[in-house]
Symmetry: C2
Subunit: 116 residues, 2 copies
DNA sequence: TTCATATTTCTACATTTCTAGAAATAACGA
DNA sequence: TCGTTATTTCTAGAAATGTAGAAATATGAA
């Protein structure tokens, strides 16, 4: 059962990235961080704005960082969190589209169902 | 079973959709299903091709179906699984891009902006 | 009805993830 | 050095998720 495609993300990496995004709390933290812009926020500020603090926030940030979705760097006594790596996001979106439109017959011309 | 989910993803729905994709095994099952094309596969065939079977497969399919990523319908004695709802995929990709590229694409405002 | 096939539900257990308090570490200033 | 601030690591219990066997349900055929 080996179907190896030259994808930007392998299936293992993709799964853990999706899993990192698969928490409402982390998605919220990520949103706050993204909205803060490229300057980033300290952990303290991020906590204050998102409502997720302390070791719980550290825990979630680790998961996001492991997925390559945010970056952290020390600046004196503070940790600046910068989110997000846009290339990573494009990878994820690309993974989805490639997987889903793969070589299944004709690339989704067949799907005429609408939900709206 | 036709799903009936709203097209726009709120943060809760987005998180559970990402969570549904956040398993290597489910991603693999999904890939097999997509590659099978619009005719779909029976649960049995899907199990044979993916290596995930029985109640474990049922469990994962339920999660994928709840996220609106696959559809199942009975055909006589068999259940045909059809993956994937491309509109749903586009939603996810769009959610990512919107959330993540949102305001930070614009000339970033200083702290003090409120978001919700 | 009875049998065979296809899939799900029930159930239980193992593993992972979440949450958070307390102690530890790192950097700065006096 | 010591004290303060900022953040992490350690630790542990709670909750969620994953896995799978056995019984149950649904359909079709004889």
């Amino acid at each position: 059962m080996k179907h190896d495609l030259p994808l930007a993300l392998d299936i293992t990496r993709a799964a853990s990235t999706f899993a990192a995004l698969g928490s409402e709390q982390r998605l919220h933290v990520l949103r706050v961080l993204v909205r803060a812009g490229p300057e980033g926020l300290t952990i303290g500020e991020l906590g204050a704005r998102s409502g997720v603090t302390g070791s719980t926030l550290t825990h979630h940030m680790k998961i996001l960082a492991a997925a390559g979705l945010v970056d952290q760097k020390r600046q004196g006594r503070k940790i600046i969190c910068v989110g997000i790596d846009f290339a990573r996001i494009e990878d994820i979106a690309t993974f989805l589209m490639k997987e889903c439109c793969a070589d299944s017959a004709a690339p989704h011309a067949k799907h005429g169902e609408s939900h709206g």
